[in-house]
Symmetry: C2
Subunit: 387 residues, 2 copies
Amino acid sequence: MTPTAAPWAPGAPGTLHDPDTPFAVVDAARVRRNADRLARRAEQLGVTLRPHVKTAKSLDVARLLDGGTPGPVTVSTLAEAEAFADAGYTDITYAVGIEPRKLPRVRALLDRGVTLRVLLDSPEQAALVAAEARAASRPVPALVEIDCDGHRGGLRSDAPDLVPVGRTLHEAGCLDGVLTHAGESYYATTPEARVAAARNERDAAVAAAGALRAAGLPAHTVSVGSTPTAHAADDLSGVTELRAGNYVFFDLVMAGLGVCDLDDLALSVVVTVIGHRPERGWIMTDGGWMAMSRDRGTAAQRVDQGYGLVTDLTGRPLPGLLMTAASQEHGTLTTRDTTPLPALPLGTRLRVLPNHACATAAQHRGYHVVEGGDPALRGHWARIDGW
Amino acid sequence: MTPTAAPWAPGAPGTLHDPDTPFAVVDAARVRRNADRLARRAEQLGVTLRPHVKTAKSLDVARLLDGGTPGPVTVSTLAEAEAFADAGYTDITYAVGIEPRKLPRVRALLDRGVTLRVLLDSPEQAALVAAEARAASRPVPALVEIDCDGHRGGLRSDAPDLVPVGRTLHEAGCLDGVLTHAGESYYATTPEARVAAARNERDAAVAAAGALRAAGLPAHTVSVGSTPTAHAADDLSGVTELRAGNYVFFDLVMAGLGVCDLDDLALSVVVTVIGHRPERGWIMTDGGWMAMSRDRGTAAQRVDQGYGLVTDLTGRPLPGLLMTAASQEHGTLTTRDTTPLPALPLGTRLRVLPNHACATAAQHRGYHVVEGGDPALRGHWARIDGW
């Protein structure tokens, strides 16, 4: 094209050469493969898969997981819950601890016929939810959050508060079950450690459900999951459902753990070369932390991948090239060790694979879509925004 | 309020107790004070202030800087340039190196009567810009980026390419001057080091302008700036304009350097207590990295402030309380040293002061506005989004 051609507009036919950079791109073929892999695992393990939609925050990505028939989902915000409800999803778990001011939106979703489960881990929250249910004369389905590995919230499965919390909920018709998340599994660097984390996650949830049942309380839902444990679990006896989110895109942290291969990574950011500092070994791009996020999850891993590994537009890694520094709208590429800096002229477009797909995706309002190494754009998928 | 009250809607009268958390809040009184401080400095130094709008990305914030009369601005994206042009701004510098595919949007802005200056640091870019100007029979005003401290891009002021780049631009009527940014000043931890960084920044720009002029080329604009050097510069002889962006909000990194005080910080994020883990010394909130960003700029400073310092809703710091860990939608608060954990019941709202205002602001689509410690909401300011 000539420099004075009209700017390309989203939705117009085009390729990865057309949208202004930086932009996020999703390889739908890889998403389907990642989705199929975990769906098969869940089937083999005999549990329902309840994808966590917080990573992609996209109805289009969700359709690749459920084939267009709304299934059970997990959300991280009420904005996600509302957007999925608008699209016909009626079985939604809001997996962040509930607080008083969020109950009106929860109630509004319940009143629309959505089974929206809330999460809690304290007598105060249980009393709040029970009071709301009584005031509305309709239950608020609730899960008790169980702490399986000290990662953040939850009650230990042997906590003295567990049964009283369950009873408070049950007496208001709200107790649905228990939920746990092996957040520490993101640091489990061997397959054996992840199998152990998955067993521990299962054991904590099953023990908590058992404690409730032993007290004469119901525990229908026994929910576990994280992307590392979901791909490692060997036996989910006693568990009813499996949650995972990151697996739709995967990322360098997951590849660094060994949960996936580099060629499973479905999200990348297209950037353009805007300068060269050969005396410093730098190639400058227009993709900074605004496009990649500040996430540096691989810094804590055996191989630090900087702000991301660099590939060409077809997704083929450029040997040893990574993004090592970021300003708001500038990225710095350098090579590892003694790899010579490749010749990448001004205007060259590249893709950068992120540390953490959830964080990088959140820097964008949507995704351009490709299929495999073909640069043709197949569509644009919007993200759900805000809280 | 009762739990079943209707959700509060943006724009409705209310206080910091009303919008659903997490949300970003700006103290307009502090923005005005920060703006006045740098405006007075620029006046005393005899230079034009050209605010970098990349931090707030808000026309409302810009109006606090220019009093409603569009003045010169710096932008980090063409989306900012277009939004400011739509609002009547006609003197805009796009301070990221230009690449071929961005020229159509540059040309469209020039054709609207906006003086949009582009930035470049290579013969390839100069040739590109000159060719575009000749093809359109209208110049593209351009600044040569000067590297004053090895931070990222730019030509050294003694680089052999400087005069040829200037000449290529000048022969197409495009050469406007030079621009530099003391990016390394973000690591200048003493007032003396920042004064030295400001002198070095000035010297590099003035030397480059001198080299162009010595070759018979024009250098009208001699542009310098960063928030640390803008507040330290003691003599800007030879400089025509000063740029800074972060200063409208400031943040913990700037306070850690000593560029501002804690009570100058104008941006914070309101979060809600959703749980307690007293046995671990944790208070859990609904503000994770999605609300704060992954930026941990203070980790490299003398005092690591975690993901942010915690205040009450009026902005008064809670002694020793900081956010030390973040999941996507969970924040963990702990106290420093032996400070006892404060009693903050479920539902308590707090404000978290960010490491890096530019990055935290970017996690939000807009700002609720307050004046000082008064929790009444005075408005909602939208952010400019995307690229």
